[in-house]
Structures are given as structure tokens and as C-alpha cells.
């Protein structure tokens, strides 16, 4: 009964989405206030029905209702409760349901937090979001119904993929989807503005906090995915350039470009066409990612049940959404006014430079991801683009980007005097070159790439400090910083500050872990000791251990350094009862400057085991950098100027007579 309710709620949500995509939009064009006013209630209604559908599926998992096919495939009575819940989005159908549910959450957020915007704008934005919702709801209902029943119902379920039975992976998809779907808000704002034919700085200011929040979620999602891959897959890697990872990385890159471009449009009215194109691109890449993952055109370690019929559906949907929006762009772009001009040396130029670099990287990631397909389609033979290609591409463009990134915050808008900029930067330049050279010398790290990375990170750090010092010079003290935080534009600045610091931290982490990690494949007998990079590993054998739904062989490894015990690690080899798939659970001792990582291999004769021992310097900095970037995004999104306007509007109570013309919308 409950699953049917869920199914029915999905159908109702689709009906509401159809109404939402038509009436508010048409009403905004032929000036029918009552139709415009339908936008918000419809969005709330859709959210309610999707929440019912989602709750119904969660209930089906919690109550082990194996008469529902999806639950029978992915649920199991012995699954711990948290994984019963996360199993809801553990496979194709349920993860799509989560996708639309999150979309509806973003819709009600837009409905609730846009009271200060012109009604017409909000109506159009919600209509566009309604259209996206139609696409995904019909995809769900017609090709991937999560509530389909089977008869007779099996007594036990097939269980969630053991790889996904993990806390990191329980929260990774919701975060990632918050990011993917959040990009739909910037997209819808862009479409709404294109429909109205008016792209102004107000539009940029409205889109900016939404884009920042979506970007923040996307960053967290990617960090979680990378962290999970590191500790769960058992070979200590943190990024694999897998198509599914690339699918999340491309919208992130485009989103990063968008966040910066929006800043220019808001502050200077420049780059309007470019910004609107980026807003379309960021969401289009999110959709494209969905296509690549679910259609089965590319193989990946993330096995989603792939099905050509589903692929065809998504492709048709992409054609409508992306093709339609780019067509609208081509129609409207000639009418978009040029913004404020700027000199050859100005903050605009540097931001534009980095924007272009980000888009070049995005295109290359796209190319690398699609290359196998491209070669296949043209019968050029078969290739697979691997690690080295992506890495060398990244190593080529990132230093350039960091150079510009360091200088941009110290450069003026519109026009910057070259000599003055050089005077401001010379201390930072000196410190970073010296730091880089020292690191590159044989007695330190001794490699040029490490020197380059440290130099670049120092460059970011010192320019950030210079910029903060200049900002606070006149005010001084902690109080000044606090006051700055409360001021308009203050948090945007500190958001930038932390996000850029995150990049510096990330670069250090990546460089050190790729250059100086030590990996040893060894055969160890009980009580044997092996020294890796100054750490003494003593293997104390393996004993059986029983988990809630798995049996494990649990090893014990004592790690000590200079005679003092550092950690006792318990790497495991698990066999899950249902899927009987062996899983490695690494034993990790984490700290800020190094991880000790032990994974258990195969049992060998005579009580010996194969073990992998790793020493990974500064690997945590990779994720720490990512989290700092996300924190920066949050800080910038919380800038008071986005709320001050709203509060001013509310307290002003200058209720416009005709809500349709409020805000000067044509």
C-alpha cells in the first residue's frame, strides 16, 4: 500500500510540475498576475508530494518490503539501519528519486528566499525549474520506477553493494546532488533573464548566492568521494580520472568559472554574455554527467545498471534542455549590452584569463572522458585515456592559473598601474621564489616539481596575506576583522580568501603525496617487523571477526617510531554474507602531516599474509584544501549584502501597486 502511495505521489508531482512549467511562465508573458502567483504554491506542492514519495521508499527499505523490486535488489534485513536508508540512493532508480527530491527542495528554497525579487522573475525561474522537474519525473516514472513490485516477493533482499556500505558513501551522493541540482538554480535564473531579455547586474546579484551554495555542496561532494575512494578501495589512491569522477569535476570547474564571472558582472557589469553562457554550461555539464553515468556509453568503476533505452531518454532530454537553452542564448545574445570597459591590466583581465583557463581544462577533461567514445565512433581504433594524460594536462595549466590567482585580488578593477602592482607583489614574489628554490635543493625535497608546487603555494599564501594586510591596514586589530565580517562585501572577500587558501593547501597535499609517498608490498609472518620510512610495522597476525552482515579477517599491525608506539591498525578483509564479495578495509592512522595506511592482501601459506604498507605524506591536505574552498563558498554566500537588500525591502514595506512591474522588469 505504502509503495503505491509513493508511486501515486510521484505522478501527482509530475502533474504539478507540468502546470508549474506552463502557467507562471505564460502568465509572466501575458501579464496575468494570478498565473504568476501560482509559481510558489506549485513549488511547495511538488516538494510535499516528492517528500511523500521519498519517505515511502525509505519506509519500504526500513520495513524490508521485498515485494518492491528495488528494495529486493538493494535491501536486506541484516543491513544496519543507516545503510538501509542510504540504500535508497544506492542504485539507479532511488538515486534519481533523490535527484528530483533535491530539485524540489531547491525549488522551495527559491520560492521562500526570493521575496525581494520581482514576481515575474521568480515565476519564470520556477517555471524553468518545473520543466527540468518534468524531465526527471517522467524519466523516473516511465523508465525507472522505484516502486515497481515483484511477485512472488523474495524472502531476503540482494543487499546494497558492499562497496557502498560506508558512511562516506552514504552522505556523498546527497551532497553531490545538492551541487548538481543546485546549478539548476543559476541555470534557471539565466534562462529567466534571457526570456526577459534583460541581463543586468541585479540578475548577477540574485544568482550569485545560489551559485555559491551549489558550488559549495559540489565541492564537499567531490571531497567526500575522493576521501571514500582513498580509504575504501584499498590501494590508497584519491582520484582516478574515472568517467564518473570527471562527470562531477566538470560542473565544478564550470561552476568555479561561473562564481568568478558572476562577481565581475555584479561589480562591473562586464562579461554578461560570457557569464550567462557559463551558467548554462555548468548545469548542462551536470546533466551530461548524468547521461554519461546512466546510459552505459562509458564504462566506469561506478557500475550503474545501464540501459540504452534510458540513455536515449536522457539524450532527448539533453537535446531539449541544453539545445533549447543555447538556442535561446543565440537569439538573445546580440541584444545584451556591453558592460563597463576595462584596461589591459585590470582585475577583469586576470579574472577573464582564469575563466578561460578553467574552461580550457573543462574542455580537456570532457575530451579525455569522451575520447574512447570518439575513437570508437570514427573507427580510429581503440584508446583509453589514462592517468598520465589528465595529469600532464593539469600540471600544464594549474601553475598558470595560480599565478593569475595570486595577483588578481591585489589588482584594481578597470585599470591597474603596472609599476604599482609590481611594487605590491615583489615581496610575495621574492618569498615564493626563495621558498621554491630551497625546497628544490637536494638537502630538502630535492625535486623541481616539489619546488614549483611549494613556490606556487607560497605565492598564493603571501599574496593573500598582502591583500589582507592592505585591507585591514587602516582599521587594524581583531575588531576590524569582526566589523569587516559584518560589512557588505566583507564576507565575499573572506570567502575568496579562504577558498584561495584552500587551493594552496590542496596543491601542497597533491604534490607531496604524489612525490614522496612510499608504498611497499610485503609478505609478513606473525611477529615479523618491517621498517618503512622510519616507521616500524609489526604484524601480529590475523583473527576472525564478525560484523553485522559480514565476516572479517582482522589483522593487527603495531606501528612504532623510534621505539614509541604510534598506532595499532586493524586492516580487514571482509566477506559480506549476501553478495559474498571480498572487500578490503584499510587500517589508517591519520594525521595532519602523514597517513600510515595498511591494507590486508591475501593469506599465504604458513600463517603469512600479503600486506601493503603505505606512508602518505600530507594526503589530508588534499581534502582539507577542498573543505577550505567549500567554507569560502559558504562565507561568500552569507555576505550580508544579499540579505540586507531583502531586509531593506521588507522593512521598507514599499509595496508596489503592480507586482508585475516591480523591479523594473519589462
Amino acid at each position: 500500500m505504502i509503495p503505491e502511495l509513493g508511486h501515486f505521489a510521484l505522478i501527482l508531482a509530475l502533474c504539478l510540475a507540468i502546470v508549474q512549467s506552463v502557467f507562471p511562465l505564460v502568465g509572466s508573458l501575458n501579464r496575468t498576475p494570478s498565473w504568476v502567483a501560482m509559481a510558489r504554491p506549485l513549488a511547495y506542492g511538488q516538494f510535499v508530494f516528492l517528500a511523500i514519495a521519498f519517505a515511502a521508499l525509505v519506509y519500504a527499505f526500513l520495513s524490508d518490503d521485498f515485494s518492491v523490486l528495488y528494495v529486493a535488489q538493494n535491501g536486506n534485513t541484516e543491513l544496519p539501519t543507516i545503510y538501509k536508508v542510504s540504500a535508497v540512493w544506492g542504485a539507479h532508480e532511488g538515486s534519481l528519486l533523490l535527484w528530483v527530491f533535491i530539485l524540489s527542495a531547491w525549488m522551495i528554497a527559491v520560492a521562500a528566499f526570493t521575496r525581494s525579487l520581482p514576481e515575474v522573475m521568480v515565476a519564470r525561474v520556477l517555471s524553468v525549474m518545473g520543466m527540468i522537474s518534468i524531465g526527471f519525473l517522467s524519466f523516473l516514472l516511465f523508465t525507472s520506477n522505484p516502486f515497481a513490485r515483484i511477485f512472488p516477493a523474495p524472502l531476503q533482499g540482494g543487499e546494497l553493494n558492499p562497496l557502498l556500505q560506508d558512511f562516506g558513501l552514504a552522505v556523498h551522493p546527497p551532497m553531490l546532488y545538492m551541487g548538481y541540482v543546485g546549478m539548476s538554480v543559476a541555470f534557471s535564473f539565466a534562462i529567466a533573464a534571457l526570456i526577459g531579455g534583460k541581463l543586468d547586474t541585479a540578475w548577477a546579484r540574485w544568482s550569485r548566492p545560489w551559485t555559491l551554495v551549489a558550488w559549495m555542496f559540489l565541492s564537499i561532494g567531490i571531497v567526500l568521494g575522493s576521501w571514500w575512494a582513498y580509504y575504501e578501495l584499498g590501494w590508497g589512491g584519491w582520484w582516478f580520472w574515472d568517467p564518473v569522477e570527471n562527470a562531477s569535476f566538470m560542473p565544478w570547474l564550470a561552476g568555479t568559472a561561473l562564481v568568478h564571472s558572476l562577481a565581475v558582472t555584479e561589480k562591473r557589469g562586464a562579461f554578461k554574455r560570457w557569464t550567462v553562457l557559463l551558467a548554462l554550461l555548468a548545469f548542462s555539464l551536470s546533466l551530461m554527467g548524468t547521461f554519461l553515468v546512466r546510459s552505459g556509453v562509458l564504462t566506469s568503476v561506478h557500475a550503474f545498471a545501464s540501459d540504452p533505452a534510458r540513455g536515449m531518454f536522457i539524450l532527448a532530454f539533453l537535446m531539449i534542455v541544453i539545445g533549447g537553452s543555447l538556442f535561446l542564448y543565440a537569439l538573445r545574445a546580440p541584444g545584451i549590452s556591453r558592460g563597463g570597459g576595462f584596461g589591459i591590466l585590470s582585475r577583469e583581465t586576470l579574472l577573464l584569463g582564469n575563466n578561460l583557463l578553467l574552461i580550457v581544462i573543462t574542455s580537456l577533461v570532457l575530451l579525455g572522458t569522451l575520447a574512447p567514445l570518439l575513437y570508437d565512433a570514427f573507427d580510429w581504433g581503440k584508446i583509453s585515456v589514462g592517468f598520465p594524460w589528465f595529469n600532464s594536462m593539469f600540471v600544464t595549466f594549474t601553475p598558470l592559473m595560480i599565478l593569475l590567482m595570486g595577483a588578481a585580488p591585489l589588482t584594481r578593477w578597470k585599470h591597474q598601474d603596472g609599476g604599482e602592482l609590481l611594487r605590491q607583489l615583489r615581496l610575495a614574489l621574492l618569498i615564493s621564489v626563495v621558498a621554491g628554490v630551497i625546497v628544490a635543493l637536494p638537502f630538502a625535497a630535492g625535486t623541481w616539481s616539489a619546488g614549483l608546487a611549494v613556490g606556487l603555494s607560497m605565492w598564493l599564501l603571501t599574496t593573500l596575506l598582502t591583500s589582507a594586510w592592505r585591507r585591514l591596514r587602516h582599521r587594524g586589530g581583531i575588531r576590524a576583522i569582526i566589523a569587516d565580517f559584518a560589512s557588505r562585501g566583507g564576507r565575499s572577500y573572506y570567502g575568496m580568501w579562504f577558498a584561495h587558501l584552500g587551493v594552496a593547501v590542496f596543491v601542497i597535499g597533491v604534490t607531496f603525496v604524489t612525490q614522496f609517498d612510499v608504498e611497499k608490498d610485503v609478505r609478513m609472518s606473525p611477529a615479523q617487523e618491517i621498517v618503512v620510512n622510519g616507521y616500524r610495522f609489526r604484524f601480529d597476525g590475523v583473527s576472525p571477526h564478525e560484523g553485522p552482515n559480514y565476516l572479517a579477517q582482522r589483522g593487527t599491525v603495531h606501528v612504532s617510531r623510534n621505539g614509541r608506539e604510534v598506532a595499532v591498525l586493524h586492516p580487514e578483509k571482509r566477506t559480506y554474507k549476501v553478495q559474498t564479495r571480498p572487500m578490503t578495509e584499510a587500517g589508517i592512522d591519520a594525521s595532519l602531516f602523514r597517513d600510515i595506511y595498511v591494507s590486508l592482501g591475501e593469506p599465504l601459506d604458513g600463517g603469512d599474509w600479503a600486506l601493503r604498507l603505505y606512508y602518505k605524506p600530507m594526503v589530508r591536505w588534499i581534502w582539507l584544501g577542498g573543505l577550505l574552498m567549500a567554507f569560502g563558498g559558504l562565507l561568500a554566500a552569507s555576505d550580508p549584502r544579499y540579505r540586507l537588500r531583502m531586509l531593506a525591502k521588507l522593512s521598507g514595506k514599499a509595496a508596489p501597486a503592480d507586482p508585475l512591474t516591480a523591479g523594473g522588469q519589462a
Binding site: L277, M319, G323, Y329, A333, L370, L373, P582
Partner: protein, 178 residues
């Protein structure tokens, strides 16, 4: 030329991409290359299925063109492709087997019942070798040349078509090559 023509570039780029994706849908994803293609076969040394005292390793492949077929008794698709493997063997193709996550008695019984197309079988009880070889699932078939380099990977059950148009021509070509 209308004013918006130059702003059509993004749309055109997308349409080209969409055409590629459309084509991608019609290409069998099973033929997507394995990263191991044109790389030396990963080293392994495993007990033989018939006799745990004997070992099978890479060196057995040296100097001849061989097929390595990954199979298991619990795999329905393997049962489906099995007669074709027997036929390939009769045509003189040298086939080694990788018995994947299986039980010895079951596997031996299978070979007695359905015929044994394999020169020998490596017994990979816990799928260790499967990981090194990038096995997604059973059945999969690798074509390895005289120098021990993987030249082709077929994912899923071998079909008559695949034998006639891919595997046999490739084996012939590799045999003639130095």
C-alpha cells in the same frame, strides 16, 4: 547573415557533441577498451585447476597466440558460450581458462559434462588475479599475442559473430606477425 549567427557557436558545438553521444548509444559498450589492451599481460602464478601442486603462469603463454577465458560454474552466460569455446579449440585455437571464484569439484564436473576446451585452467579461488586483469565479471576473454601482450578483450559471452569477425581474424593476424 543574421546578428545572432555568431552566437550559434555554442549550440553547434553542443549538437556535434549530441551526435557523438547518439552514436555512442548505438555502439556496444561491451567493446569499450580495457586499459590493459596493448599492455603486457599482468604477471600471475596460480595453482592449476586439475592439480593444486602444479602452477600456471604467464610464461605458459610465451611464443604462441592464446586466448584466456574467464569463467565460473555459477555463471549462466559461461554455460551459453561454452560450446563455442569447444568449437574454437577444435579449430586449433589455444585456450587457457581462468576459473574464477569457483569450487574445484564443481569446475571439474562441468568440464567433464560439457567438454574441456582448455589446455589448462588457472584456479583463482578468491578473484585475486581477476583484480589485476581488470575482470568486470564472467565471462570475459582476452587475446594474448606471442610476446605475452594483451591485444583484445571480449566482455560477455562469446558469440558466433565475434568468433568469425573478431577473434579468428585477430588470432590469424597475430600468428603471422613476428
Amino acid at each position: 547573415m543574421p546578428a545572432f549567427a555568431r552566437y550559434l557557436a555554442p549550440l553547434l558545438a553542443f549538437l556535434a557533441l549530441a551526435a557523438l553521444l547518439y552514436k555512442g548509444l548505438s555502439i556496444d559498450p561491451r567493446t569499450i577498451p580495457s586499459p590493459l589492451i596493448d599492455k603486457p599481460a599482468p604477471a600471475f602464478r596460480l595453482p592449476a585447476l586439475k592439480d593444486p601442486e602444479q602452477f600456471i603462469s604467464n610464461t605458459d603463454f610465451k611464443g604462441k597466440v592464446t586466448l584466456l577465458n574467464v569463467w565460473a560454474t555459477w555463471c549462466v552466460a559461461c554455460r551459453q558460450e561454452h560450446p563455442l569455446l569447444v568449437k574454437l579449440r577444435q579449430q586449433g585455437v589455444e585456450i587457457y581458462g581462468l576459473n574464477y571464484k569457483d569450487k574445484r569439484p564443481a569446475a571439474e564436473q562441468w568440464l567433464q559434462r560439457f567438454g574441456n576446451p582448455y589446455i589448462a585452467n588457472a584456479f583463482d579461488a578468491d578473484g585475486r588475479m581477476g583484480i589485476d586483469w581488470g575482470v568486470y565479471g564472467t565471462p570475459e576473454t582476452f587475446v594474448i599475442d606471442k610476446h605475452g601482450i594483451i591485444r583484445h578483450k571480449h566482455i560477455g559471452p562469446i558469440t558466433f559473430n565475434a568468433i568469425e569477425h573478431e577473434i579468428l581474424p585477430l588470432v590469424k593476424k597475430l600468428r603471422e606477425a613476428n
